[in-house]
Amino acid sequence: MATATQLSAPHDSGRSGLWSWITTTDHKRIGILYGVSAFVFFLIGGLEALFIRLQLARPDNTLVSAETFNQLFTMHGTTMVFLAIMPLSAAFFNYIVPLQIGARDVAFPRLNAFSYWVFLLGGLFLNASFLVGAAPNGGWFGYVNLTSRQYSPGLNIDFWVLGLLVLGIASLAAGFNFIVTIINLRAPGMRMMRLPVFTWMTLITQIIVVTAFPVITVGLVFLMFDRFFGTTFYSLAAGGDLLLWQHLFWLFGHPEVYILILPAMGIVSEVLPTFSRKPLFGYAVVVYSGALIGFMGWGVWAHHMFAVGLGPIADSVFGATTMLIAIPTGVKIFNWLATMWGGQVRFTTAMLFAMGFIAMFVIGGLSGVMHSNPPADLQQTDTYFVVAHLHYVLFGGAIQGLFAGIYYWFPKMTGRLLNEKLGKVHFWVTFLGMNLAFFPMHFIGLLGMPRRIYTYRPELGVETMNLVSTIGAHIIAVALLVFIYNVWRSWRRGEVAGNDPWEGATLEWTIPSPPPDYNFTVIPEVVSRLPRWSVTQMKAIPDVPPEPIHVPGGSYWPVVAALGIIGMATGAVAHALWIVLLSGAVLIFSIYRWAFEPFEG
């Protein structure tokens, strides 16, 4: 048990079974755990979306009640942001980043396992609220004072506050882990400006994570104290200010948007060069613009609050800073197009999704510029126009980027290629469904339908467009079924990939698929940005390790610590102090044992 040192065989170490997955500290296994769990949450969030769309398929519909609808859209948003897109990105951070920088694992493997288990248990905790009929119902943005105990006395908001606090712990731990990994574990010669763009975008994302999550944590702790202990941070009667929450939430919430999109931009920046057989155009500019987007993301939060009445000066300034973000974003898009220009474009499924990213993200970006404009935003905010915008960014952008990553790296992770024919069906059906689902929402919003309403009047004249949107959502669901079938089939019977099925340029393609436990038989010496493409060839990596490689054998203390945290949250929801105290003791004890766990067996 604990951490046994072992001499690894070239391929699978032979460790298998449930227990080996629970105690694993291997970044590749944790990556797969993240991917599979996040995909299941993605399906749950998608199911919620289908119910939302069915309810809105016609006016005055009575499929679900107002209360159920409010729970559905709150959980749809919360799930997609925190339990689907972020951890799907984390699957790639985990699996790919150590391979791209020539490392054997992340800097803190047990902390990595801890992050995963806290995320998984936090996600299950949030969804367990459905089982007691009290799913969160205050929107993913949880505006006070609607979410204060006075107006939301049930358990719903308790689940939401505690769930997000727990998930924040997972994100912060992972954030620090990856920052340290990328800065400290780079192979010799892997200078910062030789990092693959995906790794760069991971680094920027994690810096945003560790700076943004503390802000929402403060906001959530205030709300938790108000709800559990009767403090008055958000109490009007006691002189509190309702806008405090909005500022804290969006000060986190807007950087969060870049936490969701930058990893996908990183994936696209890997896929486009590989399938154009050309290096990324303007590498340094793409990296700098990513950093600039991350930095400028801190100065725009009040564009979520133009209707709040902050005054003409604040409106003008935040409108201007928001428009400025369009510049580095546009620069990225032009660099991607220039990467393809003059290349040899191979239309693999991964490439189609990467091009789909550009095509759709542009729409989301342009509608984003429209509501960066404060007067225009007064008509658009809180309407379906914004719903259209954010889905073009997050589905057309982030999700398509992640699918590009899945088709691109699946062979590295499993040793088998996904079926390309099914992949193309998946892409085109998604493309059709997405545009049917989300494009009409622009008009639905401009014609006056607000968001977050469980029913609408037939007089609005948006009936047909809503029906089209509902049909589109179901077409996306069909595309997902094709994808699931493809994964199920290809994992077992897909074409064998070999080390490098795509003629990629970066380090992960130098080693077997799936990589052995220790990744690299010897740590490579990097001599250029595109090791496999450059004229100065790097030294070949031997097939068999020249000397034994020590691989840590796993630990169950991270899982126990995660159970302690979720136990504390559960005790708090149940208002059972003894559960909180007992779980707290479990947490402290497991951290103590973890700290003194011998590394060498």
Partner: protein, 340 residues
């Protein structure tokens, strides 16, 4: 990739279809009926055409490179181009120019539409409640609900606050929305320029019946508006003048029930009868066209349906189902309809 051309055509076509005719869209942001609405619409159209231009450029480039540079068998490897400084500078500066073109009229519009109101503007206090709107006209002392009456061509300032959670007042054809927040007074000002009825609804998620918090703005010529004000200022008919059914209704309205929170007069005000403040003022209920946050028509059937079970009409409604008997409902309907 012909599908993209098709998509562009579809988008442009649909846009023209929705903007060209003023069609049956009572809550449309694209058919302004007041100066604020027009100001916003003008900016929106500028943004729309610029966005459409960028959209066409980027998507055409994407389709072009996809077709022109698709891999063909037997090609030599492409030259390894790593970047081009002049290109980088130009596609950084191009958006800057576009943004300046947008920024100047934007700031002008912000300053123009958020100026302090001039003298002679009609001020109305708007108070958001879960889930209905209260309007108070300080000039005339009129208090009403959900249906806002305004004179045409006279500047209006709405001073807005909330009695509970955050709401957002939005009548799209008259202008943008403004959040209605407890502890603050937010203002929005505009001048309606057409006579008519303009629909709107709460735009900030405010709890279970957020969807059922409608409103309508009735813009009238100044004489009709003055007459409406005069009507609203009149005291209701004295109880003795009521018909038998209505008088029974008045009694039912006044009846102290068990629990006391089921008593009408605790929450509702009717001039000379009761002074409750929780619910809408009913003094001139009969003069409104809709009830229950603009959700159902103010007819005998509508009123009866509402009284029978408010929570069924408006989930979460603060007005409980107080278990009225059918004769009581009939009497109350007669009484409420007499309040004109």
């Amino acid at each position: 990739m012909p599908h993209r051309y098709f998509l562009v055509a579809l988008g442009v076509g649909a846009l023209l279809a929705t903007t060209a005719c003023s069609g049956p869209f009572p809550q449309s942001t694209l058919h302004p009926a007041g100066d604020l609405g027009f100001e916003i619409d003008r900016l929106f159209r500028l943004l729309l055409w610029l966005a459409a231009g960028v959209f066409v450029i980027v998507e055409s480039l994407l389709i072009y490179v996809a077709i022109r540079y698709r891999a063909r068998p037997g090609q030599p490897p492409p030259p390894r181009v790593h970047g081009h400084t002049l290109l980088e500078i130009s596609w950084t500066l191009a958006p800057v120019v576009i943004l300046i073109v947008v920024a100047v009229p934007t700031v002008q519009t912000i300053l123009r539409t958020q100026r302090p109101p001039g003298a002679g503007a009609l001020e109305v206090s708007v108070i958001g409640h879960q889930w209905w709107w209260e309007y108070r006209y300080p000039e005339s002392g009129v208090v009403t609900a959900n249906e806002l009456h305004l004179p045409v061509s006279r500047p209006v300032v709405l001073s807005m606050t909330s009695a509970d959670v955050i709401h957002s007042f939005w009548a799209p054809r008259l202008g943008g929305k403004r959040d209605v927040i407890g502890g603050r007074t937010n203002r929005i000002q505009f001048t309606p320029d057409s006579i008519g009825v303009f629909l709107g609804q709460c735009a900030e998620f405010c709890g279970e019946s957020h969807a059922n918090m409608g409103l309508r703005v009735v813009v009238q010529d100044s004489a009709t508006f003055a007459a409406w004000i005069a009507d609203q200022q009149r005291a209701p008919a004295p109880p003795d003048s009521l018909g038998a059914a209505a008088r029974e209704g008045l009694e039912a309205y006044r009846r102290i029930r068990d629990p006391a929170s089921n008593t009408c007069i605790i929450c509702h005000a009717i001039q000379g009868v009761s002074g409750g403040l929780m619910g809408p003022n009913l003094t001139h209920l009969g003069s409104r066209s809709r009830i229950a946050g603009d959700m159902i028509p103010n007819t005998a059937e509508g009123l009866a349906r509402w009284l029978r079970d408010p929570v069924a009409v408006k989930p979460g409604s603060k007005m409980p189902n107080i278990g009225l008997t059918e004769p009581e409902i009939a009497a109350l309907v007669a009484y409420l309809q007499s309040l004109r």
